[in-house]
Symmetry: C2
Subunit: 132 residues, 2 copies
DNA sequence: CTTTTATTCAACCTGTAGGTTGAGCATTTT
DNA sequence: AAAATGCTCAACCTACAGGTTGAATAAAAG
């Protein structure tokens, strides 16, 4: 794989993260996702509990669709929405990766503190794992 | 706890989710977080790799700070930024909750399909758990 | 004490997100 | 065929996000 290709791939991955995080940043859209977690539903059904116009909800759905979090298939005049089960994998992966680093650093700091407390002049010693 | 209090608490939780998801939706801000995952750093250090002005980065940092993902403590004229280790717990929780529901539904559908294939007239039968 | 360095504050510009309303287009119902 | 239903498209408005530049403030270095 050429360097340019790799960069392009990374770019789309970044863009996808952008889109999914942005999609999840709106409370209305999160509510829609939660609704769809129970069962698939038509646009009108989804819009019903909200105060805003049907059009506004329709727009939110399009954002979710563009981010890949929800999918649509038409059945006559009804548009049936459902969640794309794998769509959160990438964001979840990013978050877990970050937490892993943070935990590792916390772990190291804790180890250092313990060492300093026990023996202010010694270097590395035993370690006990498992943070969070 | 009175009903109004509960609603207020839910509202702030929602707002916090909004803020963190929105903070993570920007690639520059994610890069800043990744940088801070290695070690804490001053504003200028953080800004260095980016094309944009220092002021722009400063703004991004404020967004991250407002969302609770990064923390700041001043040391002389330097502002030292670091990540708030627990700040992703809530978003991570939300994502995991959603995935749990999705997986449960996928599981149920799969079970149904297996049943129909094996014995098109029978009802519930054995179940094997563990998705993903 | 003057100058440099680190950072924020304030004003401004441009694009886009999220909402509205009013048509318009298919499909289903009568 | 006509009317009702489900949904989108298009134009528009307002607010805010993300960037710029040009001070202003605070601490450190000369």
């Amino acid at each position: 794989m050429i360097e340019t290709e790799a960069r392009k791939k990374a770019a789309t991955r970044t863009a996808r993260l952008d889109a999914v995080f942005a999609a999840l940043a709106d409370p209305t859209r999160r509510a829609i996702i939660e609704r769809l977690s129970r069962s698939e539903a038509r646009v009108t059904e989804i819009a019903e509990p909200f105060q805003m116009s049907l059009n506004a909800v329709s727009k939110h759905i399009r954002v979710l669709e563009a981010s890949g979090v929800v999918e649509r298939h038409r059945k006559g005049r009804d548009h049936i929405l459902s969640i794309n089960t794998g769509s959160l994998d990438e964001v979840d992966g990013w978050i877990e990766r970050m937490r892993h680093f943070w935990d590792a650093r916390l772990d190291a700091m804790e180890r250092l503190l313990v060492e300093l407390k026990q023996d202010p002049k010694s270097s590395h010693k035993d370690r006990k794992h498992g943070s969070r």
